[in-house]
Symmetry: C2
Subunit: 222 residues, 2 copies
DNA sequence: ATTACTAGCGCACGAGTAA
DNA sequence: TTTACTCGTGCGCTAGTAA
């Protein structure tokens, strides 16, 4: 029991725009609380400028103040911010160079065109390679691999076969990137390859050995 | 302080999809509570199946359970339901006939075409006339009149001048209608005129003298 | 460093009841 | 009928401290 429960009850009854005739026992009944308890809460909420009250014939006329409305809005907002993190996984690692085959792949037009199409940016012809130094982080990567992700199909060029890629929207130190995982070659399990738009490469001033944070979005649609 | 605050905190840190390393004192600091208090709450929330916990090296690894997520969703939903009532005014009255000039207006094509255009239905060539029997209800009507509403312009036909109408989306016993207030003739302050789509006239089996509930939407856009 | 127990205090609760 | 007071109980809080 708290003032939020009462604000929600009053709001659902339409106490925003006009005074609502209510009694403490009716609210109590609806919320499973005693009449006395509601009486005390309304008194308190009046002091806190969450509601106005005027005596009516039977019971009070109660209305939610702008402050009361703001309180509800703020809570809703906070919950939304929290729920927005659903389906996102954070990973920490360390920037390394010269590992992984992503940088080779990204020079191939067939791959980079697909990135452009599905992620909306032209990838820099190299990748950020992130080394996962902790077993915990590798377990996170496993969780990502178990997700569906965004598939970029493979192709053949002459004799050579280029495998499919499983990709994810992600942010690297806050900047939008794409996580690229070749579907076949599962060697180097402790490396994550991230392609960035060209401009980001300049903006993020990170060097080899730097610790970086990545947030991977498991959802397919942005 | 309650479990919602902690769920929001954990959620914002991304504890939905993967275990989050936290300590009771860190949460306490963030929420302005003592370490001991957070310890007790986490214990309780674990019992209530809102979170899982596993001992880590320093502190716990905490994750929000599906049930915990559902709890947040439900609260968000309830708040949204409450906030959806904002800008809506409830009025009670009694159905009467033969009063008001709305029914005359609605037979005029220039008016009814506008209703069709702005409310999306062809009005029945008569109005529901609602008599406000209580001073409280009349005060509600004043609040409505003070709002902007949806204007339907006047026109002249030969010598006669037909005034503008101020209209509002509303529901009459749950059915979508339009409240129509002539801008000039402010006689009969205790009558509200409501036009309904033709089919509603049959569906709502209300007769003269019946008490009815109206919910008026002060917003212009549906 | 952690978590979480115990003790002590105060706020929140329902029951009874006055106005 | 109302609201809201007082009273007694118990839950939630912080501080101290054990593990």
């Amino acid at each position: 029991m708290n003032e939020i429960d009462i604000l929600i009850y009053l709001g659902k009854q339409g106490a925003f725009s006009s005074p609502l005739p209510v009694t403490t026992s009716r609210i109590g009944k609806a919320l499973g609380e005693s009449q006395q308890n509601i009486s005390r809460w309304l008194l308190k909420m009046e002091k806190e400028d969450l509601i106005y009250r005027n005596m009516g014939i039977k019971g009070y006329l109660v209305q939610i103040t702008p402050n009361g409305e703001k309180t509800l809005q703020k809570l809703k907002n906070d919950i939304e911010l929290a729920l927005a993190k659903k389906g996102k996984i954070k990973i920490r690692g360390e920037l390394v160079t010269g590992m992984g085959d992503g940088q080779y792949y990204m020079r191939l037009k067939k791959y980079s065109d697909q990135i452009k199409k599905k992620f909306g940016f032209k990838p820099y012809a190299g990748t950020f390679n992130i080394k996962l130094t902790d077993m915990k982080e590798i377990r996170q990567k496993e969780k990502i691999i178990a997700s569906k992700g965004i598939e970029i199909p493979g192709f053949r060029e002459g004799n050579r076969v280029f495998g499919a890629l499983k990709c994810f929207h992600c942010t690297l130190e806050g900047g939008k990137c794409a996580l690229v995982i070749p579907e076949r070659s599962h060697h180097s399990f402790d490396i994550m390859e991230i392609v960035a738009p060209e401009f980001l490469r300049d903006k993020l001033k990170i060097k080899d050995g730097n610790a970086v944070k990545i947030e991977v979005d498991l959802n397919e649609n942005l």
